[in-house]
Symmetry: C2
Subunit: 451 residues, 2 copies
Amino acid sequence: MAEITTTISATIESLLELKKYNSLKDILTTIQPIDIALILEEMPIQKVALIFRLLPKELAAEVFVEMENDSREALIKSFSDNELKEIIDELYLDDAVDLVEEMPASVVRRILAQADPDTRRLINEMLKYPEDSAGSVMTTEFVDLLPDMTAADAILRIRRTGVDKETINVCYVIDGKRKLIGAVSIRAIILASEDAVIEEIMDENILSVTTQEDQETVAQMFAKYNFTVMPVVDAENRLVGIVTVDDAIDIIQEEATEDISKMAGVTPSDKPYLKLSVFEIWKSRIPWLMALMLSATLTSIILTSFEGALLVVPVLTAYIPMLMGTGGNSGSQASVTVTRGLSLSEIEFSDLASVLWKEVRVSVLCGASLAIVNFLKLLLIDRLEATVALTICVTLIFVVFFAKLVGALIPMLAEKFGFDPAVMASPFITTIVDALSLLIYFGVAKTVLGI
Amino acid sequence: MAEITTTISATIESLLELKKYNSLKDILTTIQPIDIALILEEMPIQKVALIFRLLPKELAAEVFVEMENDSREALIKSFSDNELKEIIDELYLDDAVDLVEEMPASVVRRILAQADPDTRRLINEMLKYPEDSAGSVMTTEFVDLLPDMTAADAILRIRRTGVDKETINVCYVIDGKRKLIGAVSIRAIILASEDAVIEEIMDENILSVTTQEDQETVAQMFAKYNFTVMPVVDAENRLVGIVTVDDAIDIIQEEATEDISKMAGVTPSDKPYLKLSVFEIWKSRIPWLMALMLSATLTSIILTSFEGALLVVPVLTAYIPMLMGTGGNSGSQASVTVTRGLSLSEIEFSDLASVLWKEVRVSVLCGASLAIVNFLKLLLIDRLEATVALTICVTLIFVVFFAKLVGALIPMLAEKFGFDPAVMASPFITTIVDALSLLIYFGVAKTVLGI
């Protein structure tokens, strides 16, 4: 796909040079809005503004939504008030709200000044919903029907409201107090006879979420129930908006990326990697590296206090990285698996006992397999004394056992007490496991080797 | 949500005991299919079969699709041939294909024997598509229109085909040779006047994928373009099926989970954690632990060969875990970030130079910050000699530098040469970085301390 985009880019640039605006216009209407946005990102702002004016209004709004914030800001600054008003009128309300949230104050003032009073009021209302709530991601463009309408009335109403977002193929039925009482697909309406009453063809068995619901929960409901749209209600069950599946997909992707980042000790960012400055990347990584480096002080202290033992049996030193590495890997296998299970709601805190019992048995199996293979290797290949090999392998069993237990336990506790399990998942657990591994190692060495 | 499910479960069990089948039927029609499936999973198979017979045919099929394979197999065994035929007739083709793929041979033979000849032929055709291809996840139930139909003709055809999957709100326009030439939403059809010609209201600017396309690429296109449905064509651009957004969401979730598992050194599984047996979990984890444990031999060899140096300056040993840990964390920050970028197509192999240049600069910033803080700590708190502190901190800078470079490079190379970057991402890189860290440490110690 990237190659095709590049080719079109070149063509567009050439046509722009040649001032062939009509052909340019024709070409642009054959390209998906996001691809146009990607092409424009590579161009200087004067050219972007020029091309932007060639786009039909609706397409222009769609492209605008897909552009990066910096480009949108530059573009708005190049707009006349009238051009700005035209774009804002074309934007869906949720996109307008996003825009207002992302732009600096001076630009926001201009945007709100050009929005019509109704839109301005709605934007201000939506800004009040908590970040990452259903209210903050919903759109207020939907079709509502009354239960006593006929199918013919409904079709008239659909035509009049003129909502044309592709994902909106469900209408919601509300009573006189705007309370949500049912849903009916556009398909069901056209399949019904013209005088069929909505109340009789609507589906009353519907799920909804409140404006305060966390967006991640909403997205997981889309995944679980295969919805394409989900109604959002206020505390009195009055319909106030809908979340559409395209937003749910974005949320699912974002949340997965965030979890992955946190598990690797990186502060998540909304921007793609290549758009981040070196300083921004440094800022997202250094706190974790610093914290983990300083927490390794614990292992230094432990090692220093056992310096004597290591001088007596120096070969023990050679296996420290293997033991700590195996512990770290065992722990993150458990913690990452449990954390992902929590994210997907496959695991809940009430499953604690069964998770721990599973990990106990898995860790015994894993520890034993590793110890047997390692014991043979230490004797036959490394040619260590049996007692030293035994020390190392007994340590291995204990390390794997505690690593898996700690790895499973910490994310579950984090979830219970309202911390983010993903943050706790990998590097943090490794630090604990590192210290534990050393203590076990020297404890076992003392017992077996008598040092 | 879990609590609500539990409550309904109890009610259903009681009503079943009391043989109140009519009320049971009423209750069941108010519950989402997936929730019914979850409730049934907890019951003995005799009760499941009983409840299943109470469900209306369409709902029964929807519940059946959501059930676990073991339960489906048991249920099929409890069905009469006639009951089995009824369920198969109600299944969407893609779900029937899934079923055939998951069931053991004896059950498959019964299923195919009960399917009508057309369905049997289609199932066999779909089974030929490569695993995880667009062909293998598409459904063949869609509405196709001809360009010279009127809107009224189209509505008649939509009514006749009777496809009622909620996600199908787009019809595809094909020419006389079944080649895909456009798309038109059901909404656009009802908004048009009755005698409007499809050719004039259809959108010709549409994207499609071929049956051979990788499902992950297809899912990423849904995310990028905000589609709810995507047409699938054969090599001659003939329309053969559609992929719907609910399948795309499942693919996105699965792929994210797989990436996360691989990054933590766990072989991915389709089953949720709590459904996996202890032996299955062991099998998914032990190959990685074993490989990583054995590859740590490298660090043992390095440490053994520098045993002499450690005996001269024993305090050096105490900082080995800190250096290796910081290296491992630095490396996995880079590798996990790059791997996720590759998965989301935000990064491609052609970005190699800019990725490496970014990581070089980030690693210098990170390394310097860590070294400064650590140097002060080593001098003021740990009270080490300046030369030893210098050795440790110079090592730190080099370790972070190489760790980030290796961490970014290996996933990019893996992608280029057709390996899975996620597999290469974390534990594998840690092993390389561990060995590198030690070599750097002893190299610097030799130079600075002259040992």
